[in-house]
C-alpha cells in the first residue's frame, strides 16, 4: 500500500517520520518531496508558516520611528504633551509607511491569483505492508498532516 500525505514545514513533520520509523516503516520506504510553492499574493504580515520575502513592515517601522521622534519633540509645546504626540507620531508614521508599501505591492505590482488557506509544503509518500496501514494513517493525522490518502499497490 502507498499512503500519500501533505504537510507544512514544522517539527511535526519530523516527529511524524520518526513515529513511522518506530512502528516499523523502513527509511527506504519513505519519500519526502519538498515542494516549490507558487508565489502567492503579497500578505500584509508574515506569519509562522508564510513569509514572502517582501515585508509590508519595513517602511512602517522606519517612518513610525521618525514621526515618533518629531511628535515627541514638538509635543513639548503642544497641549497634549510629548507622550501623546510621540505615540500619535508613531501610529500615523506606521500607517503612512504601511500605506506606501501597500500601494507599491498591491496596486503597482498586482498579483492576480490568490491562494487562501493552508498550503502544503511537503508531499510524504509511505510504502507499507497492509497490516501497518491503519497505524500509519493514524500517525500521519496525529502529527497534523493536511491531507492523507491511500492507494492500493
Amino acid at each position: 500500500m502507498q499512503i500519500f500525505s501533505t504537510f507544512e514545514h514544522s517539527s511535526y513533520l519530523e516527529l511524524a517520520i520518526t513515529a513511522l520509523e518506530k512502528v516499523g516503516v523502513k527509511k527506504e520506504n519513505i519519500l519526502a518531496v519538498p515542494l516549490v510553492n507558487r508565489v502567492e499574493e503579497r500578505r500584509l504580515f508574515d506569519t509562522l508558516h508564510r513569509a514572502d520575502g517582501i515585508s509590508l513592515f519595513d517602511k512602517g517601522a522606519a517612518i513610525g520611528t521618525a514621526f515618533s521622534v518629531i511628535g515627541a519633540s514638538v509635543g513639548f509645546v503642544l497641549e497634549w504633551g510629548p507622550i501623546f504626540w510621540g505615540l500619535i507620531g508613531a501610529a500615523s508614521g506606521f500607517v503612512l509607511g504601511f500605506m506606501i508599501d501597500y500601494i507599491i505591492y498591491k496596486v503597482v505590482h498586482k498579483r492576480t491569483r490568490v491562494v487562501k488557506g493552508k498550503k502544503a509544503d511537503v508531499v510524504l509518500v509511505v510504502e507499507c505492508p497492509k497490516d501497518l496501514v491503519e497505524k500509519v494513517e493514524e500517525l500521519l493525522w496525529e502529527h497534523l498532516a493536511l491531507g492523507v490518502a491511500k492507494v492500493e499497490g
Binding site: S11, I30, P34, D58, I70, F76, P82
Partner: protein, 263 residues
C-alpha cells in the same frame, strides 16, 4: 555540544546556531539598514548581527549626544526655538558627532550590500551549518516562532521580542538601556500624571534629552525581533528541505496498475 563540525571544505556558511543566538545571513534592503543607523548609530550594525561595532557605535552615540545636548537641541529646533537650540548645543562636543554619525550610516549601507552578495553565494553553496547546540547554560535550535508575538513582546518591553527568538546579545543590551532611558527621562512618572489627567505636569516632568532616545529604541526593537523571527522561520524551512532531500528520497512511487487497465 554542536551537531556540526566544519570539514574545512565549505567556503561560506549562511547561518550558525550558537548558545548566544542564531546568526544568519539574509537579503536586506540596504536603505532600511542605513535608516536604522540614522535613527540611532549602532542599530544598523546590530541588525546585521555585527554586535561589537553596533555596541561601540551605540555607546558612542549616548555619550556624545548627551554631552553635546543634541536631542535637546532637536526638541528646540522642532518647536521653533532656534535661539535656545543654539544655546544648549555644547561646542566642546558638537562637531565630534558628525563624522561618526555619517560613518555609521555609510558603513551599515555598504555592509548590507556586501552581505547580500555573500548571502547569495552562501545560499547557492547551501553548505551544512550548525543548527543545534546544547550546553551547560543554554539550548538553542532552529524553530518556527510567531512574528506577531515578537512584535507584541517588544512593544511591552524592548528586548523581550529578542529573548523570544533567542537573540540574547541584542536582548540584554536593549533591555538594559531601556531601563536607563525610562529612568532618566521620567517617562513612567509622566505616564502616571497622564493617567491622572494632568497633562501639563506630565510634560514638565519629562527630560527631553533622554526621552528622545526612546522612540528609536522601541521602533528598532520591534523591527529587529520581527524581521529575525521571519528569517529564522525561513531558515528552519530551508534546513528541513535539505534534510528531507538527503535522507528521504531513496523510495520512488510506482503507479499501481491492474492487468485489466493495461489492455
Amino acid at each position: 555540544m554542536n551537531n556540526f563540525n566544519s570539514t574545512n571544505r565549505e567556503r561560506r556558511f549562511k547561518a550558525h546556531v550558537s548558545a548566544l543566538g542564531t546568526t544568519q545571513l539574509h537579503l536586506r534592503n540596504p536603505y532600511i539598514i542605513a535608516w536604522w543607523s540614522a535613527a540611532f548609530p549602532g542599530f544598523g550594525h546590530l541588525l546585521l548581527s555585527k554586535y561589537l561595532r553596533g555596541y561601540a557605535l551605540f555607546l558612542w552615540e549616548i555619550l556624545v549626544n548627551n554631552m553635546a545636548n543634541i536631542n535637546l537641541a532637536m526638541v528646540y529646533s522642532f518647536t521653533g526655538n532656534i535661539e535656545l537650540a543654539k544655546e544648549v548645543l555644547e561646542p566642546r562636543w558638537m562637531l565630534l558627532y558628525i563624522p561618526v554619525y555619517i560613518y555609521a550610516i555609510w558603513d551599515s549601507y555598504r555592509t548590507s550590500v556586501d552581505m547580500n552578495k555573500v548571502f547569495l553565494l552562501a545560499e547557492h553553496e547551501n553548505a551544512d551549518f550548525n543548527s543545534y547546540t546544547i550546553g551547560a547554560v543554554e539550548v538553542n535550535y532552529l524553530d518556527k516562532r510567531r512574528p506577531i508575538m515578537a512584535i507584541v513582546w517588544s512593544l511591552f518591553t524592548p528586548g523581550l521580542g529578542q529573548l523570544y527568538i533567542h537573540r540574547v546579545l541584542t536582548a540584554i543590551f536593549t533591555m538594559s538601556f531601556i531601563i536607563i532611558f525610562v529612568y532618566f527621562s521620567n517617562l513612567l512618572v509622566a505616564t502616571h500624571y497622564l493617567f491622572l489627567g494632568e497633562i501639563t505636569q506630565a510634560t514638565q516632568v519629562l527630560d527631553p534629552q533622554w526621552l528622545l532616545f526612546i522612540p528609536s529604541h522601541v521602533g528598532f526593537s520591534i523591527y529587529d525581533s520581527y524581521v529575525n523571527t521571519v528569517e529564522n522561520n525561513k531558515l528552519y524551512e530551508s534546513e528541513q528541505r535539505k534534510f528531507l532531500k538527503e535522507k528521504y528520497q531513496q523510495s520512488r512511487v510506482k503507479i499501481p496498475v491492474t492487468v485489466d487497465e493495461v489492455k
